[in-house]
Structures are given as C-alpha cells and as structure tokens.
Subunit: 312 residues, 2 copies
C-alpha cells in the first residue's frame, strides 16, 4: 500500500505535517522527514500520534526515517510541504535538494497563494497538489502530535483536475485512514475555506485575543464577521466562483457548538509565533482588489493584523 508513490520527502513536520506524514509512513509510504530543532529528540524518542476521536488511541510511527539536512534525503518523487506560509519565500532554497524534474509537490499549508508560490520556484508545468486541512491537530510535545477532530483533507490540483499521479497521492491518504474529498476547483475550495478563516482567525486576534464564542456573542464583531464574509463572496464572484448566502450563514451556525474555541492563528499570535497574515488575509484582499472589488472590512482587518504582528 502506498509504495507506488515512490520516495516522498516531508518538510515542516509540525502538527499537520507530522500527523499526516506519520499516518502515511505507517501505511507503508516511503516517507522521509526533514526535521530541524526537533531532530535529536524525535530521533531518540520516536514520534507518537494520538487519535482523540478514537478515545485517545496511541499510534507510534514505526521505523521513522528522520533527517537533519535535505541533501541527505535527495531528490524525491513527491515532496509534501507543511511549513508555515510565512516561510514561503525561502522554499526555493529549502526544497532545492529534494526536487528534480520528476518531483511533484503537495502543499498542506494554510491560506491562498501557496501553489502559485511553489510554481514560481519550480515551474507551473509540474504537478502541484494542494491539500486543504479541515481538521484540528495539536502538537503538545516535540514528538507527540494529537488529532482532536479528524475532519478531512480536500485535495485540488493547481491548474487542472487531479492527474493520475496526483490521484495516487490522494489515495495514499485514504489508504492511511484519512478522510479525503476532491475539489472540483482548487480556487473555489480556497475561497470557501477562507469564508471561515478570514473572519474568525482574524477577529479573534483583532478583538484582543478572544475565542470564537465571544465573536458570535458580540453584536458588533458578529456583524463584522458577516460583512467580511460578504466581501469574500464578492471577491470570489469576481473570479467567477459562486458562493451561496446559505454557505455564509452556515459558517456562523457551525461555529456556535464549537464553544470557546481558539483559532490556530490566535494560538500562534498568543505564542508569539509568526501569524500567516499574507496567506490568509493579504492574498484574498489583493485578488479581490485586482478585480476592483471593494473590500473595506477585509482591508481594515488586514491592516489591524499587520500592526498587531509587526507584519510577521
């Protein structure tokens, strides 16, 4: 199972990358982890996955292949990119030892612009697949990654429907026990995902470090969240992507039962880690403005976030 993918490198095994990489490796994929600060600890202590939807079941990653330098891994058939999008400018040099003419790329990164960034470095003709992660995964120790809510990964290929090789990667996730969906249009899937991330991740930071329940219960913030969604809907429409009003309503409804939830960007912000301001807020704003769609609420939020994060 999964062996037909060939050699797979994985860069940036934080929460999402480490969890899916570990599941793929345990399902027989020839997976090579590039580790940085955690290399020594993970090499000696192993990597452990916890499935909380399964009562906290523990899954150690068997025969983990961990490396400190990309050159030790060498060229791969696939490279899975799971670094934060704030490091996107450095991906050309980070990935260079892993990529030759046969290499396809899968980005599991947040936000918009990641496939274009990889195309900029490695060419638009290459197979570049994106996996949008609708899940909740926390790393609680350097070598312990915990899936809180398994959710699913939605795949879409840059500039085309999935090619047979890309389909092989999607099936490898499925064989490893990850629920997958296929996007008819990657851009549509990205715009739709942002309908939640842009208002809730953003207002939780701009609102002073608040959980999503407080955005919903504050009439002003709730209205702002909905205005921002309307702007995203308009931005998508200018790109010939139609998002129904009911989809926007549903984003608010689905957030109610989540209770006092901290979006991932808020956790980054509170931990003083880089916040993915450009991928989540900057890029949809630029795409909307490029089509002359006014997005005053998104622009205000973007500027607030830049000020709060010093443009991190």
């Amino acid at each position: 199972m999964g062996g037909e993918l060939g050699k797979v490198g994985l860069v940036g095994p934080g929460a999402v990358g480490g969890f899916y990489g570990g599941m793929l490796a345990n399902a027989g994929v020839d997976l090579h982890f590039l580790l940085r600060s955690t290399y020594e600890f993970v090499s000696s202590e192993g990597l452990h996955l916890i499935h909380h939807a399964d009562g906290g079941r523990k899954e150690p990653v068997k025969s983990l292949k961990a490396y400190r330098n990309a050159s030790e891994i060498g060229p791969c058939d696939w490279v899975i990119v799971a670094v934060k999008s704030t490091a996107n400018d450095e991906l050309g040099s980070i990935l260079e030892p892993l990529v030759d003419e046969r290499t396809s790329l899968l980005t599991l990164q947040n936000g918009m612009g990641n496939v274009e960034n990889l195309a900029r470095f490695f060419g638009r003709e290459r197979i570049i697949l994106a996996g949008l992660c609708f899940t909740c995964i926390n790393r609680t120790e350097p070598n312990r990654i915990e899936s809180i809510f398994p959710g699913y990964v939605q795949f879409g290929q840059y500039g085309s429907s999935p090619s047979p090789k890309a389909e092989g990667m999607i099936e490898a996730f499925e064989n490893a026990g990850v629920k997958v969906r296929r996007a008819e249009s990657l851009d549509e899937a990205l715009w739709r995902k942002l309908c939640w991330n842009v208002p809730f991740n953003g207002l939780s930071i701009a609102g002073g470090g608040i959980t999503t329940d407080r955005i919903l219960s504050d009439a002003v913030l709730r209205a702002r969240a909905r205005f921002i969604m309307d702007e995203i809907q308009a931005g998508a429409k200018a790109h010939e992507i139609s998002i129904e009003d009911s989809f926007l309503d549903r984003q608010l409804e689905l957030t109610e039962p989540m209770g006092p939830y901290k979006p991932s960007s808020l956790i980054d912000y509170l931990d003083k880690k880089p916040v993915e301001v450009e991928a989540i807020w900057g890029e949809p704003l630029r795409r909307g403005l490029s089509k002359k769609v006014p997005m005053p609420e998104l622009e205000r939020l973007y500027r607030e976030l830049l000020a709060l994060t010093d443009g991190s």
Copy 2:
C-alpha cells in the same frame, strides 16, 4: 477562591473526575484525590491536564494531595463521586470513611439513578448534587488527562433547586474555569441527555462497533435512533417532562459535524471495560415501563447490550 468549600474528597479520578478535580485543586479548592492503581505513578510523576481547545496548553496540578486509602482522607465537607456507575453498589463501603453528617455529595457519573443510589446509602435529606458532563475528555496516560472539547457541566440538585451550599460547589467549578449551567429540573436534564446517549452510545456497540457517522448514514440505524428518541420522549412525558420534537431533530443534526466519532461507551466496550448498561439503558427503560409506556426499541437495544457485555 474555593477555600470556603471546606475539605473535598474525590473518588474515581479517571478522565472526567481527574480533569475537573485538577482544575478545582489549581483554583485553590482543598481537594483530596483517592487513587487506586495509579497512586504510585501519579504521586511520583504528577498529574497533567491538557487543554486542546487552547491549542494543547499544559496545566500541571500543583501540590497534588493523593491518597491510597479513604481512611487517610477522613470525613469531608464534600465528596465528588466520579467512579463508573457499574460500581454503584460498592459506593456505600467505598465512600463510608469520607462521609459524616456534614458531608454533601456531588456525582459526575453518567446516566440515570446515580443520585438515588447515593441517597440509598447516605440518606435523602443530604445535599446530593449531580453534574452532567457535556464534554469530551480522554485519559491518554495514567497521569495525563486531555480535554478535547470543553463543553460544560450542567448541575442539578436531587429533589430541590440548588441550596446555598450546592451553589458554592457550582461556583467553585465556575471559578476554576469550567463552563457551568444550572438545570431547573435534574430529571429533565437527565432525560434530555439520554436522548443522545441512549441511541448513539447504544447503536455504536449494537451496530458492531461503529462510529456515529455510520449510524447517521445507515438508513435502518438512523431510523432506529429516532424511534428510540421518540420512546425516551414518551417516557419523559409520563414523568411530566416535556421534550420538543425539534430537540430530537437537533440531536441528529448536531451529530453530523462530529464525523467518525466513537461514543464513550463504545470505547469502553472495545477496551473490554465495563459498559454502563444499567445507568444509560436499564434505568430509563425501567422508569418508562413503571409508567406503562411501551419502549420496545429501547428494550431491544438494552437486551442486545446485555448480551454483548455479559451484563457487565
């Protein structure tokens, strides 16, 4: 904060008991944990709480008071009961050293009949409070307890509205950072909670060890789930408790986004631990039948579960 509760004993610090007990202790409650098999490990390694809704934040329990025998703790102002209801018959002897005439009791146990069981051993005039836990907490190591979904605890007092002393316990939970709700009627809250637990915990076992998404997607099991809810609604009505149809519909709707979720009873069953058959299925069935409400679907499920668990 919380010191005014006096001395509090906690029996059965598994997932729920250990987590809330740890939060209360860290908020200043004079909390004494009665441990059995985990005594030595927890005494030497400490008890650690993980808050996944807060990005996996770790909270060690400070200055943990752990005991191996109830007689070392002695009589308490409050005893929190968090053992499984399958041990209910033994609670008279287990709790005896902790209880004198001043002692009030709080049960955090699952299902119906727990306050009556405590009243049977310690008298109906005593303050007996129940806390219904709408949450998801897993213990992943003997000394590591993880809150996946914080949810809330709904409190109701046996036979009355909360007395001032009971109100003190509810406020102690609130001060410790637990979201609380107050039930106007404890019995109503219990019947309502069972509208989810009875069908989903039960059918996940009787259906062959399946997750809740498979109950929803199987037309027969989904219909059975709804029939069982209708019977619980009728059983509650015979006790003058009204549950709206829309509440039953909502149980199904709220289960959709949970995905491939394993209810706690299924996890017990798969781990070959005792399943709380009497508290979750037997007791509502007996209460319905005592009012001559026919409950054929609940009875069938109850008998299937007894057969599958050898009446554990």
